[in-house]
Amino acid sequence: MSDVMVFAENNGNKIHPVSYELLGKGKELADKLGGELTAALLSGTSLPAGELIERGADRVYRGTAERLAEPIESSYREVLVQVIEEANPEVILIGATNFGRSLAPRVAMALDTSLTADCTGLDIDEEKNFVQIRPAFSGNILAHIKSRTSPQLATVRYRVFPEAGIEEGKEGEVIDVELSLGGEDTKQVEVLEERRGKKVNLEDAEVVVAAGRGLKKEEDFELIEDLASFFDGKVGASRPLVDDGWIGRAHQVGYSGRRVKPRIYIACGISGQSQHLAGMKDSDMIIAINSDPSAPIFDYADYGLVGDLYEVVPELTRQLKGE
């Protein structure tokens, strides 16, 4: 009862990279607890377990069931509970993706145990307590949480911990679990369609160029796109532009949108309200372009250009292209 289990989220083709980050942190926790690191690899079609082992897992519990090919929480809840009961871990780490944040509470309630959401820090203290650190109050405070039930579940934010490195040829055990997925309740939700077309993975972008209310017309997104395309980056937006339907909601950066952590974030005509900052303030480098020198965004930027975005953005694109 001192093992750490990582839920290896996947969409049937690819393991979500947050799982590799969890393996890195999970190993450290397992060592401190004197236990082993395990992973639960549950999917619609069988996925190779090797990389989970090479990235630190001592044991992989692997199970497939057709219904797991779709993101339906009740199916996953049923089989994850089964695997947890078989492996008996003390700590269970789940990525704080939308899927993880929707699945974990069902598992915690099913097991009548503790769950801490969206952690950004994890440790084991001297008394071997699992300490979970998480932002609350819209990211304004950090709460240190301890649990008094077992097992202890936590969802963990993507891109906070580094990915575990690969140790080629590392050995580990793969346990193929016979899943029983019979519950009627797993059929209560059905996927009718996957709208892949809308997919914009802002979270994975290396460069994000975002526009705010400083943009005057929908067509002017072209300026933003031109700059983004120089970096092969993605276009983001503050909420008002999304509300006006100028750009899809998948592009919204902020507290109620995406949380991004790119190498470079360029904010164009964005004032820097706390709800926007919540989604981008951890970017490696922030460049702000705003005509108002007192705009709060400048306090959170590494470089601030005071000026009209209609002049500055095209000029930046032009000079970058070496024109």
Binding site: F99, V189, S274, Y303
Partner: protein
């Protein structure tokens, strides 16, 4: 057929733009800010009211919290809810999401049959998004989280778009079931002056632990599986910024010299 019942879970929270954080003491001064309904829960309420407008039925708003939360329930009535129920009592104070979900689920069972439960994506203070799915699990009903659009409102089934696995999925869910909604799902209506007047006079039902037959050992600080060991209020991370205010050509030139951005590509 009885009329359908829609339940909205709504929490009263401090206005995040006004609340003060004490960096030295590591405290949140909750009294510093006016209280308001959790913004995401207004989207949940709006969705319930839309359902009622299309298919008839009753909207019941349930909140667990201090006495002042009555005003949030009155606000919900002004915005289209038919009734408000407040779970209140010292036994509830200090509950974590597990205990909160248990209490809300007991209240839902006490209220009688219900077709759809609407919750917000998360609260701006607790910030977990756990309560909705935990309530659904306890009640043994299906749920869909992060709903960004409701595309079909039926009596036995609801169709929604949900953001998950890095894409948008169109899903149908059998009822009874629960959804948690994002801010994108709708634009909550503003109550009219008349609606506010009417709501001010509305009676809010208050339930304590005996009304929902819940064991107090499962509530509050003692009943919660997690506890806050301590709290930090890190000061906002401002950056040392280099501000360039010359004409665009020069500013951009200086920026690029500092950055070497061009050469990386």
């Amino acid at each position: 057929m009885p009329e359908p019942t829609y339940i909205v879970l709504i929490k009263q929270v401090p206005d995040m733009d006004e609340v003060e954080f004490d960096y030295e003491e590591g405290r949140v001064d909750r009294s510093s800010a006016p209280l308001e309904p959790n913004p995401f829960d207004l989207n949940a309420l709006e969705e319930a009211v839309k359902y009622k407008e299309e298919l008839g039925g009753e909207v019941l708003a349930i909140s667990m919290g201090p006495k002042q939360a009555e005003s949030t329930l009155k606000d919900a009535i002004a915005r289209g809810a038919d009734e408000g129920i407040l779970l209140h009592g010292r036994e509830f104070a200090g509950s974590d999401t597990w205990a909160t979900s248990l209490a809300l689920a007991h209240a839902i069972e006490t209220a009688g049959s219900c077709d759809i439960i609407f919750a917000g994506e998360k609260t701006v203070d607790g910030d977990t998004g756990q309560v909705g799915p935990e309530v659904a699990e306890y009640l043994d009903i299906p749920h869909v989280a992060f709903v960004s659009d409701v595309t079909k409102r039926g009596e036995k089934e609801i169709q929604v778009e949900s953001e998950t696995w890095g894409a948008t999925y169109l899903k149908s869910m059998n009822l009874p079931g629960l959804i948690t909604v994002t801010k994108d799902v709708n634009e909550p209506r503003l109550p009219s002056f008349k609606d506010k007047q009417r709501a001010r006079k509305a009676e809010i039902t208050t339930w304590g632990i005996d009304d929902i037959s819940i064991d107090p050992d499962n509530l509050g600080v003692t009943g919660s599986p997690t506890r806050v060991a301590n709290m930090e209020v890190p000061p906002p991370e401002e950056r040392e910024s280099l501000i360039l205010r010359e004409d665009p050509g020069n500013s951009v030139n200086q920026l690029l010299e500092k950055l070497d951005l061009g050469r990386e590509n």
